[in-house]
């Protein structure tokens, strides 16, 4: 379904624990068609500090009988945009663009699915879990966070999961540690065939590595900075390994794919994870040259990657 701009109404505003706000929105046309892993791009109201929309994953979709389904997003307070959203009341109007992006692919045959989430990044797993269960797949869960307070709505996941392992960095709930500490064992114990992961990039990178070692298909939903959210600005790109078969450029190559339209869900095995600020250099060198990244780095008067700006 192609995206549209909708004046959505706030249907409910809940809090999960200390940290998370959930807004359910009546967004005609969006609720009925959205897929797990897709997102919406939200205008948070006039503000001096920013001009752009803010992207949020679909956390859940609620069927409302004959009325349009409501979509729910969940978020933590980061900056001015989420602060403004947190001040929204029932019946307020929010300008929403969506549904956006390509969601998770659902197994064609019954499969044992493992959902892996970190912090508020776990949001899309709830909608995904609902869908997988409806389609009859087995679901297991590994959910992690800083502490018990930041475990996003673990109750709901526990209800849908056969196995649900929690981790917290401070040990305040579940095992002390990170999701990746329990991931391999959970996969082995559950006989996992497909992994779905959402959360911060370093977590996704580690999950993808473990899955690749185990040769288990892994889909990751990434969060990149987005200026437009619908594919025109090229700010949100992720470097992906691609296999090309055509002519001269055949063989392995690297492309920058748009997270907002070609993602946010990617095959975890294709993503080239950044190490710190910039992407792994040996992979970068396979990017086709241009006025941008790579060449500028070779110029003596500009530090690597710090060439003259180019739009």
């Amino acid at each position: 379904m192609s995206p549209s701009l909708v004046a959505a109404g706030v249907f409910s505003h809940k809090k999960y624990g200390e940290n998370y706000h959930a807004l359910a929105l009546v967004a005609p046309g969006i609720g009925a068609q959205v897929e797990p892993g897709q997102f919406i791009n939200v205008s948070c109201g006039p503000n001096r500090d920013f001009i752009l929309r803010r992207p949020f994953s679909i956390f859940r979709v609620h069927e409302q009988g004959s009325a349009p389904s409501t979509i729910e997003i969940v978020f933590d307070l980061r900056g001015p945009g989420t602060r403004q959203l947190a001040a929204m009341h029932i019946h307020d109007k929010i300008d929403v663009m969506g549904p956006l992006g390509v969601g998770f692919s659902i197994p064609q045959r019954k499969a044992k699915c493992l959902l892996v989430g970190g912090g508020v990044g776990a949001a899309p797993l709830f909608f995904l879990g609902d869908r997988l269960r409806k389609d009859g797949h087995r679901i297991d869960v590994v959910l992690g966070a800083r502490n018990a307070d930041h475990l996003l709505n673990a109750m709901d996941l526990r209800r849908m999961a056969s196995v649900c392992n929690l981790t917290t960095e401070d040990g305040s709930a579940g095992a002390r540690g990170r999701v990746t500490d329990v991931l391999a064992d959970t996969m082995d114990g559950c006989g996992t065939e497909v992994v779905y992961a959402c959360g911060p990039d370093p977590m996704l990178a580690a999950v993808a590595r473990i899955c690749m070692e185990k040769k288990v298909f892994v889909q990751v939903a990434v969060e990149e900075l987005m200026a437009c959210g619908y594919g025109v600005c090229m700010t949100c790109v992720m470097p992906l390994r691609e296999r090309r078969s055509k002519g001269a450029s055949a063989g392995r190559s690297v492309v920058y794919a748009r997270t907002c339209t070609e993602g946010p869900v990617f095959n975890g095995a294709q993503v080239i994870w950044s190490s710190g600020h910039e992407h792994v250099a040996q992979d970068q060198s396979e990017l086709s040259l241009g006025g941008g990244a790579v060449r500028a780095g070779l110029q003596p008067e500009a530090g690597a990657g710090h060439g003259p700006p180019g739009n």
Partner: protein, 309 residues
């Protein structure tokens, strides 16, 4: 009386004076989900290069007060892709299309221009994005040098004979009129003013630049006063040169500032990110202004700024 919004800039005919700015509208495909591309004065597509360019590492953008910084590095699939895939599709939508060319050497500009000329398409005009580093001149930006600007324009005009050519100038210079003069002498049919303003932002918690590329280009409402000034400076010296004004246009009032300062048309950039339908809304607002004030032809407003008491 229905106001007439049609304008012609050096042979570039637009149904209304509001275009989408290069790099903020792709090649129109994604925005077409939200609006009819015929409702735009025109689409200036993302700058294209001779070969595909992958662009810069991420993060490529950050927000700043009333604006944003970007360092995309002109990620694009190259001129062949444009001619084979984007242009036929755009033509099928009846869109008015302006190509934007970028390159790291005069030769690259010329080769792209050559391909465009040879393809002999329905393309309405060409914009030269000369805010690129010139690898043959120690990475200096073409648009920062009067001679490099002239060389690109002259060389492109020599091969691209069938389309009006607009040189898109950078505001990051001591004298925009000086660069404009050399672009015009070299044969530019019109000018696009302005490209982004160089800037930088620092994440004080990580002590790193917010953009992987360090510096970036500032766009959005914050730079509108700079764009209005640039258009005014050039228009008062060459009142007959058609100018596509751009920089910070969000509303019809913003567009009218540029038009009154001397722009015959405007391009909307960053505002498309927030609202893909921004261009027709701006055009509609200009129509309302004209209707309310009894202005029959938008050309009456171009450069109508009164300077004296």
């Amino acid at each position: 009386m229905t106001p007439d919004l049609a304008v012609t800039l050096a042979g570039l005919r637009l149904a209304n004076p509001v275009l989408a700015a290069s790099g903020t509208f792709g090649a129109g495909r994604e925005a077409a989900a939200f609006l009819d591309l015929k409702a735009l004065g025109g689409v200036i597509v993302k700058s294209m290069t001779l070969t595909p360019w992958s662009g810069k590492p991420t993060p490529r953008m950050c927000e700043t007060p009333s604006g944003m910084l970007n360092a995309i590095g002109i990620q694009n699939k190259g001129v062949e892709h444009f001619l084979a895939e984007d242009l036929p599709w755009l033509s099928a939508q009846d869109a008015t299309v302006v190509a934007s060319i970028a390159g790291n050497s005069v030769d690259e500009f010329v080769k792209v221009a050559h391909r465009i000329e040879a393809a002999n398409t329905s393309l309405a005009a060409v914009e030269l994005n000369i805010s690129c580093p010139n690898l043959e001149d120690r990475n200096h930006i073409f648009a920062h040098s009067a001679s490099a600007t002239a060389e690109v324009v002259r060389s492109v005009k020599a091969v691209l004979r069938s389309k009006p050519v607009f040189a898109k100038l950078s505001p990051n210079v001591t004298s925009i009129p000086l660069i404009a003069e050399s672009a015009l002498e070299a044969g530019a049919d019109g000018l696009s003013l302005i490209n982004t303003v160089f800037g930088m932002a620092v994440d004080v918690s990580t002590r790193r630049p917010k953009l992987a590329g360090g510096m970036g280009g500032l766009s959005g409402p914050a730079i509108r006063p700079i764009a209005v000034r640039a258009v005014h400076e050039v228009h008062r010296l060459w009142p007959h040169v058609p100018i596509i004004g751009q920089g910070g246009v969000q509303t019809a009032t913003d567009a009218l500032e540029l038009i009154m300062a001397g722009a015959s048309a405007v391009a909307v950039g960053t505002a498309n990110f927030v609202d893909p339908g921004a261009c027709p809304k701006v055009a509609g607002g200009i129509r309302d202004y004209m209707a309310a004030g009894g202005v029959g032809d938008v050309a009456e407003l171009v450069g109508c700024l009164k300077l004296e008491g």
